[in-house]
Symmetry: C2
Subunit: 356 residues, 2 copies
DNA sequence: CATAGTACCGTAAACGTTTACGGTGATTGA
DNA sequence: TCAATCACCGTAAACGTTTACGGTACTATG
């Protein structure tokens, strides 16, 4: 009888089979109990859960994935060795933390998919998708034209992007309110009498650079001013980039009286570069940038926009889950697309005022 | 006949079966061809590879893992939202890049396993292992006593750690040569006449702090000096930590004349803090630290130890593979354990000399 | 020609799950 | 009492691979 076979605990049993045998019930019931199915006696479920804990049983992910066609993994794609990922400090770690708090509720795991600098990002993505690695993806470093979007849309892989793109396949995205930041900053600086205002942008083709520059230009023109192409500084989005900008800026024969920083960490390098030349933010030049954990230690204190990275991560996760059939009902009114407005924290770095 | 069945390309075929049908051969042969098995005609193999490329076929990872009991994935465990992972900047991204270059040769993929700050790292590791997620692991943020080691050793999961620990289960590790750095730095400073030398250590229980402090003490005692407990500053391993140290240091009634920095990025914060008080490295205090991409922009230039992060990643990957049966023959003489010596790059920050 | 050997290929089992389906015994309703 | 309903559980198929095994046709050898 099957009964006997199960009662005698054979040696080489593994996985769910071993657990079922230990409890002397069928593997089907064990599976149902563990997965919270309704058609199982609560008494039985309790026994199963206890035995699972006792024997340290955790379902094998490969078996489960193979059967369900789902992995319970969400991938966050990043590129190693590049400066793109180097938001200077722990930017992504904080965002991850927010994402995780949402995913934990659904037993989803977040992993960072690390695309080597030696491999083409598009190829890498193709491989990841074809292997059925993740149920959904989060993309950052959004390019102005991003072929990854079309690829994923064609395969019907749920994904969300941190950053807009001209390539629009209807996917959800979150982005920072670069228009708002440009508008507020320009208005503020013009009100203080500034006419020669410099702006920065990332050196590569990420979309945010275009958005920020465009809006800065519009805001200036609304005041009857123009954006001098000579005052657009592009750099890597890290401290070194900020330093380079300071050097370039100081070398101009006709210096700008104010500068807008689009990235977070460049403020640190900028300060250092200016400091070396005895140029003091807030006294000799007005600076408006973005707050970061490190910028708290800048002196004079930075006037800049403050972002809650963790909340951004949470919103990112919810926007993604809202598009995944299995989870969408949990987030009926999640913002599929949203510009994330940051608050301006006033410091001393833009105190420099010009006579009218 | 089977022949007919295959010739007519049925609709719902997926995966390897579809490919086999398209080529009118068996799935077994397709699999062998793709996996480089010898018992397949080279002509056939060529056809298979071409068809695979054409149809964009990539083996399903779940099916493959289930059968082979192997995932072709190596996990790098990190903790999100914590300061531990915040080596300030792109430290890990550069290390990853080195790891990847080695893994690419073996068709292994590296992913970062992100342990939420809300979950216990030991629990997280348990889950990852039980699910059979990765074939091997890389651990960082090595604690002085690290229970993760014993757990992995018991399960016979190959792993390598970045950093030594008192918990020794025979696993391979790489570590920076903190003894060497302490010894060289102390000797150098003492030779310049310094007697009151401060040292830093990370605020938490990572092992490197103990090693560094111990060796600093020994080196001082060899010169007939002592390490003043009041001159041991602990901080988070980032810029903010460096700033705090500067503040604490300046508040001492009897200031140290020199300071040794164990972490990379704290130099930035330290400089800023000292600068605010008009204290200049190299003129008013001697500073020896560690080089990083950002430290190139410090002024006066930092005297510090320089590490090739990418090479470290390469060594880390090789040390791990050397312990994995499937790959060990590729790395017969890989260093299973190694302290990674860094070169001292001389700058101006330790120019401050005391009269004899 | 008979035999052995070789090169290549097809068949089918196995990996660990989940889940549709059917079955059993108990309960309910008339 | 009989039928219908219900709660619960066991059975077995299926997911997409890899690989041991056996089979076939061809070649070499005597």
């Amino acid at each position: 009888m099957g009964r006997e076979k199960r009662t005698v605990e054979a040696a080489g049993m593994t996985g769910i089979r071993r657990l079922a045998q230990h409890l002397d019930i069928s593997i089907g019931t064990v599976s149902r109990a563990l997965n919270g199915r309704p058609d199982v006696n609560e008494e039985t479920r309790k026994r199963v859960l206890e035995a699972a804990a006792e024997l340290g049983y955790v379902p094998n992910q490969s078996g489960r994935s193979l059967r369900q066609g789902t992995t319970n993994i969400i991938g966050f794609m990043m590129q190693t060795g590049t400066e793109i990922t180097g938001q200077g400090d722990t930017f992504f770690m904080s965002v991850f933390d927010g994402v995780q708090t949402v995913f934990a509720r659904h037993h989803l795991d977040l992993v960072a998919l690390l695309c080597s600098s030696e491999e083409d990002p598009d190829d890498y993505l193709r491989r990841v998708v074809a292997r059925g690695f993740a149920d959904g993806l989060i993309l950052s470093a959004t390019q102005r034209h991003d072929p990854r979007f079309e690829f994923l849309a064609k395969r019907k892989i749920p994904f969300v992007t941190l950053g807009r793109s001209l390539t629009d396949v209807g996917q959800p995205w979150l982005d920072l309110d670069f228009e708002g930041m440009a508008q507020i900053s320009i208005d503020r600086l013009v009100a203080k009498g500034h006419r020669r205002i410099a702006v920065t942008r990332p050196h590569d083709d990420v979309n945010l650079g275009y958005i920020f520059i465009d809006q800065s230009r519009k805001a200036l023109e609304a005041h009857g001013l123009t954006l001098d192409p000579d005052l657009i500084f592009s750099s890597t989005p890290n401290e070194a980039g900020g330093y380079q900008i300071a050097r370039q800026l100081l070398a101009k024969k006709e210096r700008p009286t104010a500068i807008l920083l689009v990235n977070e960490t460049i403020a640190l390098g900028l300060y250092r570069g200016l400091n070396e030349a005895g140029v003091k933010p807030g006294r000799d030049i007005a600076v408006i940038g973005r707050q970061s954990p490190q910028s708290h230690f800048l002196s004079p204190s930075l006037t800049g926009f403050k972002l809650s990275r963790r909340d951004l991560g949470i919103a990112l996760a919810e926007a993604l889950l809202a598009t995944m059939p299995a989870f969408s009902h949990f987030y009926p009114d999640a913002n599929r697309r949203k510009v994330w407005t940051e608050d301006l924290v006033e410091g001393e770095s833009d105190a420099f005022t010009l006579p009218a």
